[in-house]
Amino acid sequence: MNAFDPHAREPIISLRGLRRFYGEGAARVHALDGVDLDILPGEFTAIMGASGSGKSTCMNIIGCLDRPTAGTYSFSGVDVSTLDNDRRALLRRNSLGFVFQGFNLLPRTTALENVELPLVYRGMSRGEREHRAAAALKAVGLEGREGHTPSELSGGQQQRVAIARAIVTDPLVLLADEPTGNLDSARSHELMRLVTDLNRERGITIIMVTHEEDIAAYAGRKVIFADGKIRSDVKVAA
């Protein structure tokens, strides 16, 4: 398992002095106030911390959905802050997968079509798209649900569709912001087994925000945020 040996690799994600402020003057909020963080390829990191401590803000910046006010973010050694919007879109499309607490699936659109969507933007042919989307749905255990729309699926199933959509492009990094936030305990543990498998078997780097200790326990590293800064960063034996 040399490929996943953290010490043998350069960090895939590297944050230095990352700051993100909202608003101006007295109303200014320091959502992120100087974050330094290195994530190595193949790592499974859980991010925890009080509400409002800046976890989502940090995830959005890592996911290229938002830009930092100050500091640097490099992905695979490339300074992302220098990239234009199109390059950032390409990074999202090819290297990053995002799973949200609220699923964010397209309504009135079948599971298969939802999963196909990132491939549509790659200009992939319909046949190959459907093949890969079906395979991704099978990987998350949703074989036979391809034709169901989100409203015809349970919360746990919807979140699996969202994971299938995130991994159908074979991303390097999967970002999950409270993926189990809307699921009951049994569904949460099912989902975590799936995420752990993706990490172990496909070597996908995973960064996951959660409020629950038992969910965080699936990760090999636990980073705790407080007031826009990292308060602790510990490796736990998986």
């Binding site: 959905l65 390409l90 999202r92 964010n104």
Partner: protein, 402 residues
């Protein structure tokens, strides 16, 4: 990618059928108006052209009565006399043919069949001035004209109605109780510009007509056909001078007759049609503009409603240009659907109108293509602003949007 966008656009449109149709109304009405106008206009134009060729070429028509706008009445005006006609015959040059004539309604009978018709008394050259050909026989001789023989030439309608397959040549028909031998039959001419059947007619020598049918020597019309179009203005001026003299119109007084150049009338009529088409075209253009604004409005609503969807698409890697394309394609597809509906409606209206007005209906493929392409252009123009506002959305803001 374009094809994917088109499919997606069709799906979105189908999801909001009623709203889409209401949005499209402006475009539909605009395109339908243009298509119907142009089609009916072309039909009217082509009918007018064929009408004019029926009138005879390079034709001047003199009628009693002062020149007034509108159709000539001429009933109370002093009619022309033999003297006027002779003066014209001797005084004009550049004339191909000339014929004086008068017309009256009459009843014609043959055997048990009868028909109400128009009887024209005229000179042998009448048919030449009108470019009117014969299916059998020919015009009456100069001696018939001089002596006022009871001979006549009948139109295609009378051949059909009175003789029903029998050969009319040499038969004797009764025109208001006057027996009259048929010496010629005319080629069909169809309806006149005012809708009357020009083939329902009996033509006989002027003298015969004056003595036996009209009971007066009045002459109502003088047809003069010029050798070519260039000589017409000169002939028209000469006719006016000669008629003023023979009719003793004092200098400074208004003419008590009218000489019309039929090609001028045609030009005036077609310029009126052009003005009308232009005005209605402007109305259609306004309708298209309103339609375009409707499209813009609905696309802006659509972008606002689908902000979250746009956020999701951006988050999974859609480029701004791809979002722009998607919304632009949606507007264009919407407009082209409107254009096609407008085309169908326009042709339906034009078809009905052509039937009602009795003009030919022509399918103009070029115009159909232009109408559809133009609808697409409206989609691009009015869809661009909403599409750009969608493409400029910030991914994280769009995702947070409720």
């Amino acid at each position: 990618m374009i094809w994917e966008s088109v499919k997606l656009a069709l799906r979105t449109i189908r999801r909001n059928v009623l709203r889409s149709i209401l949005t499209l109304l402006g475009i539909v009405i605009g395109v339908a108006a243009v298509v119907a106008l142009v089609t009916i206009g072309e039909g009217a134009q082509s009918r007018m052209t064929s009408e004019l060729s029926k009138l005879g070429s390079n034709m001047l028509i003199a009628r009693p009565g002062a020149p007034t706008p509108g159709p000539p009445t001429g009933s109370d005006a002093r009619s022309f006399t033999e003297r006027d006609v002779d003066a014209l015959r001797n005084g004009l040059s550049g004339v191909r043919a000339m014929a004086a004539s008068s017309t009256k309604g009459a009843k014609v009978v043959y055997g048990t069949a009868s028909q109400d018709t128009q009887v024209t008394g005229t000179e042998p050259s009448f048919f030449e001035t009108q470019d009117w050909s014969f299916t059998a026989g020919g015009t009456f001789s100069d001696s018939d004209a001089r002596s006022g023989t009871a001979v006549c030439v009948i139109g295609a309608t009378l051949v059909r109605e009175l003789f029903q397959g029998e050969d009319p040549m040499g038969r004797v028909i009764r025109v208001n109780s006057m027996p009259c031998e048929v010496t010629g039959t005319l080629a069909p001419k169809g309806q006149s510009a005012f809708g009357s059947d020009q083939d329902n007619t009996v033509v006989m020598p002027l003298r015969t007509f004056q003595r036996r049918i009209a009971g007066s020597t009045r002459i109502a019309t003088i047809n003069v056909s010029g050798l070519n179009a260039a000589v017409l203005p000169a002939i028209q001026a000469d006719m006016t001078d000669i008629l003023r003299e023979t009719r003793r119109v004092n200098p400074g007084e208004e003419d008590d007759f009218t000489v019309r150049d039929m090609t001028q009338i045609a030009a005036a009529m077609s310029s009126t049609t052009t003005v009308m088409t232009g005005l209605l075209g402007a109305v259609a253009a306004v309708s298209l503009l309103v339609g375009g604004i409707g499209i813009m409005n609905i696309m802006l609503v659509s972008v606002a409603e689908r902000t979250r969807e746009i956020g999701i698409r951006l988050a999974i890697g859609a480029r701004a240009s791809q979002v722009l394309l998607q919304f632009l394609v949606e507007a264009v597809v919407l407009c082209i659907i409107g254009g096609l509906l407008g085309l169908a409606l326009g042709y339906a209206i034009a078809g009905g109108g052509a039937l009602l007005l009795g003009i030919p209906f022509r399918f103009n493929a070029t115009m159909a293509a232009v109408a559809v392409v133009f609808s697409g252009v409206i989609g691009v123009v009015f869809g661009f602003f909403p599409a750009r506002s969608a493409a400029r959305l910030d991914p994280i803001e769009a995702l947070r949007h409720e």
